[in-house]
Symmetry: C2
Subunit: 332 residues, 2 copies
Amino acid sequence: MAALAQAVMAGDRRALARAITLVESRRSDHAAVASALLQAVMPATGGAVRVGISGAPGVGKSTFVEALGSRLVERDLTIAVLAIDPSSTRSGGSILGDKTRMGKLARAPQAFIRPTPAGRTQGGVARRTREALLLCEAAGFDVVVVETVGVGQSEVAVAAMVDCFVLLVAPGGGDDLQGIKRGVMELADVVVVTKADGDLAAPARLAAADYGHALGLLRPRSAAWKPRVLLCSAVTGAGVAEVWAAVEEQRQALVDAGEMAGLRAGQARNALWADVHDRLGSALRSDPAVAATAAGVERSVVAGELAPSAGADRILAAFRSGGWGGPRSEPR
Amino acid sequence: MAALAQAVMAGDRRALARAITLVESRRSDHAAVASALLQAVMPATGGAVRVGISGAPGVGKSTFVEALGSRLVERDLTIAVLAIDPSSTRSGGSILGDKTRMGKLARAPQAFIRPTPAGRTQGGVARRTREALLLCEAAGFDVVVVETVGVGQSEVAVAAMVDCFVLLVAPGGGDDLQGIKRGVMELADVVVVTKADGDLAAPARLAAADYGHALGLLRPRSAAWKPRVLLCSAVTGAGVAEVWAAVEEQRQALVDAGEMAGLRAGQARNALWADVHDRLGSALRSDPAVAATAAGVERSVVAGELAPSAGADRILAAFRSGGWGGPRSEPR
């Protein structure tokens, strides 16, 4: 483990990949090693610009990340991309294809692209992504991008782990502005209207104006930074540099306002408590005393003989009095 | 408590309102009474048609619910409306205004309208809504509508507690179809395009075709029911009867396929486990041993000296060895 931690901190890509596989593992004998590994690399973490990039399917996310990544690489910056897709739990799909879709970036020695497999729980996926982010920082990456797609829940989790949250939107605009995206809009530090070229150039400008108006109605996440709307075309490459400039400018604004330390402290606290709740849930699910009680309680609740709240009391009583009080390692 | 349970089951509206206030209460001395009350009314629950109605702000949700409710009342059915708005936690707003917006329905003796205040946690709001639903059933309502607005998370919770999930959409359509609404679309049994009158009649028809196409691409929740898209105008009243006919038809399809019992069993199991996780989280938050440990752990994690996972281990060890093992009632 100590050797692996050293190799990660020395920037060894294969060691980094192995380390991420370790923290992603569900094997209980891996849990203690993963925990020790993370603890060992902690002093080397914190140095990257943490960027979240989100957007609906079809908005051109992979293309944008590839264009942005390639530009950073040209500027001699190193970039790690962690791509999560919690929605694949239900639809059965996977984003492993993203790696090939970002072919040019994946071949650059300054880049590291890693899909995070969707897990059984949203909390588990978020935890693994946060830990992979720390490992990438320990490996010395200048920029770590967390890429996600979802219906709101995963965006909230990602926004809580990054310094700058970039939301990609299609040049459609209009009615959907006031709609379901509102909750996600509230998270955005930078909104990028994609595909702003050719026939879509004019609608993209209209959409940008609409989004700018919508952002103006929302309370900004920080008094130091007013969220901005930008236009971008992956085909012409126009606007990509401006997006990165906005990310840097937002960072500087937070630094100047003395908010950076508070932001990072908030990320750390969020990671801590999310881990606590995630592990507590895992402990409950794998508790033998709970398992022994649950079937009977479920039957009574399903039969309408027992109120769900009363059933919950019985299961929690089993958890409290049973195995969870005993000395054993937490499941991850 | 026994008198209150009797009064609720006798259909006394004021008793029902008091009972809901009791299950919504955060006071620890109310928890045991609320639990006993729910247990007492359990035999009288299960009789209502449980309908979820969701849609973005501005889609005309209150108007639709009022139109639907008034039609049910004309048919001598009783209807209870539970309106939740988890998004108000962030924006500071409230939907208490909904009750006045549904003025005509609120005055009908066959109707009961109750806003569920947004709470600190999503889980808490969902639990209170589920318990209010059981109380409304115990009070004998034929139909219980759970109305919500949100960015995906609350819709998932509501879809898990109702028999039929109705999604209202604006006549915009187009680009937003393939986007963030997808996760919510997957939950819908009936999609209603609102405002289908006047200048919007034609775009509404186009949107309905688009949504129909989109639904065709999704895996239905049940093999017995293919989700349907309908048009509706609150101004002319056109389409409201058809929406209710679809709700009844979906119900009959599930009954005929022998799926109704399984659906209700799933709702009960979901309520049980959601309650378990919600209470466990509350117990953690209010645990004195956790409180005593957490501040120091938080400082170390924020300082980057301790990995979040290692910090989580310490907090959970405190929870396990500390007060939670002792004999005291669960906080709600």
